[in-house]
Each structure stands twice: as C-alpha cells, then as structure tokens.
Amino acid sequence: MYEILLKQDLVPNIHLFKVVAPAVAKKAKPGQFVVVRIDEKGERIPLTVADWDEKEGSVTIVFMEVGTTTARLALLKAGNSIADFVGPLGLPTHIEKFGTVVCVAGGVGAAPIAPIAWALKKAGNKIISILGARSKDLLFWEDKLRRVSDQLIVTTDDGTYGRKGVVTEPLKELLASGEKVDQVISIGPVVMMKFCAKTTEPFGVKTIVSLNPIMVDGTGMCGCCRVAVGGKTKFACVDGPDFDGHQVDWDLLSARQRIYLDEEKCSFEQWQRNVHPEVKAHGKAKS
C-alpha cells in the first residue's frame, strides 16, 4: 500500500497527491509515468509524474476527474492509501541544451511539463512557456511555470484570464516572429498536442509530445497503448511516452482513445448509483 501524504485540489476537478513511494522517488525522471491501481477492483491507469522528492521519499501525481477511476481517486484523502503505485515507467524526456525550448501545456498537462521545464532550464535552455486552460478557474501552476520560464504566456479559451484563445495562436506568432526556437514540447489533450504539432510543422521545429493512450500493465506486455509513429507501430509505455509530434498518427490515437467509451459510461453510471450516501453528500458539497 502507498500512503497519500498530501492532497491538494488544484482546481475543482484536478487534484494533486503526494504519495509515499521512496524507491520510485529515487529513480523518477522528467517525462516518466507511474501506473496506479486504487484497490482490488480498480483498473491500472498511467499518470505522468509531476514532481518527486528523494529525501522525503514521495512522488507527486496530478490527475483530472474524467471517469470512474479518477472520480474514485478524487475521494481519497491524505492518510488514505493506494493499493499499487508502479514506476517509474517509460523513457524519460530527452534533456540537453537545445537553445530555446517552448513548453506548451494544456489543462492538466501543466503538471507533467513542470519538471521537464526545470530539467531543460538546468541544462542551460531558454524556456518560453505557454499555458492554456478552458477558463480561469481551471488554470493551475501558473506560478510554478513562471518561476522556471524566461517568458510565460497564459491563454484561456473563454478569455477569463490572460489572452483569449488557444495555445497554438501564441505558439504560431512566436515562431513567425523570428524568435529562434530549437524545440517545442507539448503536453495536454490529444487535440491540443495534434494542433501544436501541425502549427510547428511548417516551421520545421522539432516538437515532442507526451502521449497518454489507454494502458494496462505499462511495461510492454499487452500492446494496448500501441500508437503509429512514422508509419511504425510503437508501444507508448516502453518506446515513449514522448514521441516526435510530426510523426504521430493523430487520428489513430484519437480513435483508440475511444475504444471503451460505452464501457466507461456504464462503469461511471454504475459507480454513481452505488456510491455511498456520504460520498454523494461530498460530491454535492463540492459543486
């Protein structure tokens, strides 16, 4: 069992757990992920690490409530435990001195991009960050990204904070402005990463994306997470999760993420019907 040391509600539907996992904390590197299973009946889901503290023996994960597992996770509190916390898995993000790197984060993607930005900064890169969210109240870690960035641009889809619009607009302007950009890293929803890659492609700037397809074991055993990159099948769990965004077959990735839509709905509805009364009260109190 892995104890939750600390829980923070970053925004209403995005939460942070600091989990006691000393061995994982010792080995974690930016861009890697852990597989989490809540309990005996839970599924295994991958979550990219957001931070770790070797001294404290803790690993930080950030997740958004999107279905049964993440909704169940969100009900846990500091002091509760998670059955399984496996990692660090996947290949770390490639870090070297590129020159100028633009880190583009959308929604919950702000969490995994933070340690990557720090590592790139330490390697001597100039960091320009673009942080986007649907709305002001869904935005988090602006402060963290500001500290690591030489320049930070914030966008909201609805214009409630920062610049109105989506992340690809400032990204395109930046590239068009003549700013010498050596690499782009984009982490967020599939559609955001896809359009970041489409935006940078004409400028010929290498764009790394962190893919998060459905996984089971996370160690290369099942092939559930297969993605097509440059016409070749890759397993995101062991060959990634980082890939060259210009080579990714985005339509396939989107389609494969929809495999269990019906089951996810069924599972979530059942969970909602069966939740304990106090959980319902908790849910109400939250909204």
Partner: protein, 465 residues
Amino acid sequence: MAKLNLNRVEMPRQEPKVRGKNFNEVALGYSLEQAKEEASRCIQCPKRPCTEGCPVNVEIPDFIKAINDGDMPEAVRILKSKNALPGICGRVCPQETQCEATCSLAKKEAPIAIGRLERFVADWERANMPKAKSPSPKPKSGGKRVAVVGSGPAGLTAAADLAKMGHSVTIFEALHVAGGVLMYGIPQFRLPKEIVQAEVDYVASLGVKIELDSVVGKLVTIDELLNNGYQAVFLGTGAGLPMFLNIPGENLNGIYSANEFLTRVNLMKAYRFPEYDTPVKIGKKVAVIGGGNVAMDSARCALRLGADEVYIVYRRSEEEMPARREEVENAKEEGIQFKLLTNPKQFLGDKQNWVVGMECYEMELGEPDESGRRRPVVKPGSEFVIDVDEVIVALGTTPNPLIASTTPGLETTKHGTVVADEETGKTKKDKVWAGGDIVTGAATVISAMGAGKLATADIDKFLRG
C-alpha cells in the same frame, strides 16, 4: 473423446453447454475413490520412466503408491518435496508428452493419469491440511541473499528451492500480484486463481519475500541488486512481449494481443465488469489468430464473455497445432469453430476505426520447414473476407527487452532471449542465472519450473563455494 482409453478413470467435467457460459473450472477433479482406483492401475515398475519424464523429477510411483495406500499426507509430502506448485502442474502440465508419455502402460493401454492424480493430491492438501506445514528450515548459508526476478513458474520454483536450501530469497514482481503468466495468462476456468494464490502463499511460507509492483530494469537494475547485498540473481521474467502480424489494419479498435485480452480478463477480472473497473470488449464474431494454448484460452474466454461465434484462425492444419490435444477438444466441444489453413492478409475497418472484417488467404502445406512442420504456402488468388468485430492475435511472445537493455554483460540472442547454460542456467554475466521462457522463448510451465530447479542447484553450489 474417442482418443482416451477407457481403461483410465475419467475425470468429471462441466458439460460443454453449461461451461461455455461461466468461468468456473471445467475439469472437476477426482473423488478419493476415483483417485484410488486410478492409482491402483500403477504397476510400480522398477524402471520408473515417469520420473525421468518429469522435468522436476517428481517421485511419481511413490506418491501414487501413497494414494493407493490411502496415506494422503504421505502423498502430499512426496509430491511437494520436488514440486512446490502441484495444484498448478496437475492442471496445466502437458503430461501427455512428458511423464504420461513415458509411462510403461502407455505402450499397452492408457498411461496412468498422473496429472489428474497430482491435481487430486494438491487439492486434497488444500482442503484437508489448510495450514501448509513448512519443511524444517535448513541451516542458513551464512546470510546469503538471492534476488529472483519474476514470480512466474520459473521464479516461484527457484525461490522455493533456494529457500528450502536455507538461503534468504526475495522475489521482485512487476505486476500487483505474484504468479506471472499463471495469473495474467491462463484463464480461471483452466487454472483457478485461488489455487495459484495458495501455491504462491506456500512459497512465501518458506520464508520467501515477495516485492510486488517492482519493475526490475526501471525501479532497480540487476547491477544495483548485486551491489546492494544480493550475492546472486535468478532471472525468470518469461516472455512477456506480444508478437503481432504486422499487416495492414492491425491497430484498428477491437484488435487485441492475446496478452492484453487475457490480462484484462484474468488479471483485471474484466469478466466481472462493471463490478471490477477494467472493461474488455465483447465481440459478436471473434477471430483468434494462432493455434497454441494461448489461442485456445483466448477463444474460450471470448465465448464465455458472450460472443456468438468464435473462430480459431490458423495457417496450418490441425495436426500441426501446438496446443494441447485436450484443449483443442475442449474448445471444439464448446463450439469454437476452426478455420484452418487460413492466414490473415489484412484487417478491414470502418470509419470509426473499428475492425469489421479480415481478408484472409487460403493456405496449403508445402515442404517441412526448420520446425519440422510442413510450411504453409499461400494459394494464389484465394483471398476471401471473414466478418469479425473483434480479433485476438495469439501468435506467441518474446522476452521483454527491459532487463537485457539495462544489464551490461548479459548476452542475448537475436530473438531477445538470454543466453544461459543448458545444464546450470548460468548466464554470461557474473552472479546471474536465468531460466524459463526468458531463455527458451515461450514454452511450458513445467519446463520453466525445471529450468528454475536446475539453476538453483548451481546457485546453491556457488553460494556455498
């Protein structure tokens, strides 16, 4: 079932129509009377060819004699002194090509049903001697520690033997339960998980520590283990990487590797979705590609999940199928349809990326290939389409490169298997042994156990040397 000689005591099984709708065990096991009757057929021949035919050299005539004498605790003792996992082996070993094939009666009438008797003894112990009595611990070998990587059949056997020899053993397992392929691969109806768990618990009762959720190669490397207090390492990580056909359309939705499908169903208990959170797609027309035991397991799982039609699609004929005869018969009885001499050319999808069909070639058999089986050859112009909405690719597996790629000095073959001495399991790397599928490529539970046993003898010698 005309092939089975009537001289053998039949083992009761669930009726095909009934069992095709549940995940309960198909074979129900002998009663004490049935076991005694079967045991009484053993002629106790002096040459004991059955023991030689057993990869872990169980003293088969002795435990059969104990059954015949009605001394069940003695039967348990004899069996477990050589085999830590009898409930598992009694169910999934291919006895027909091992101990039973060498049985003296095999030449004249049906060989003794050694597997069924082994199963009976293991089940009797679980029911009647609930607290597995640990064998008396031997003197410690001066605080020597061994790391066993992987808790499948090879790892469990090696760990149990090393613990019995007095060594301090820790198993590192990547998944959240121990058992490896016995847990994630072989279905509940063929090998109930409670039995695997009981035998894992027995190994733990010998003093073996089991560290779950520990992916060696990521969380810790082999060199780190050796530099941090472990004097020897045994690698039993199996062959966990699924092979695909590499033909167009293979990434369509609804196409699974057998590993994924079986992991969802067995390990994550998707057959009890939504009580359990992990889902699995339930197709109406399911094609399973391959002719091995894993293909049979996948097909029979798909049927039990509620598929209308399940096909085994195999490029050779039934004669060349690597699956156990018994499993092929079980599958046929349950209504699995066999499309033989058929090989997929490509998968066809709809606009939403879901698989809707499979274009296949008809095949014919040519000259024998390097495996000794006749090579399947495409019949030109024979393409035809099978309608399917789910496909399970069961072509085999290769070792996961994770450990080899993070362990300098560990030599591997071009197939990704680890090079190890056949007699001792010793790899090219100092203090590291290996056995099971990681060395041989995908094979059987008992051969992995045999390899685990061979290596432990050499590890023990090294630790005491």
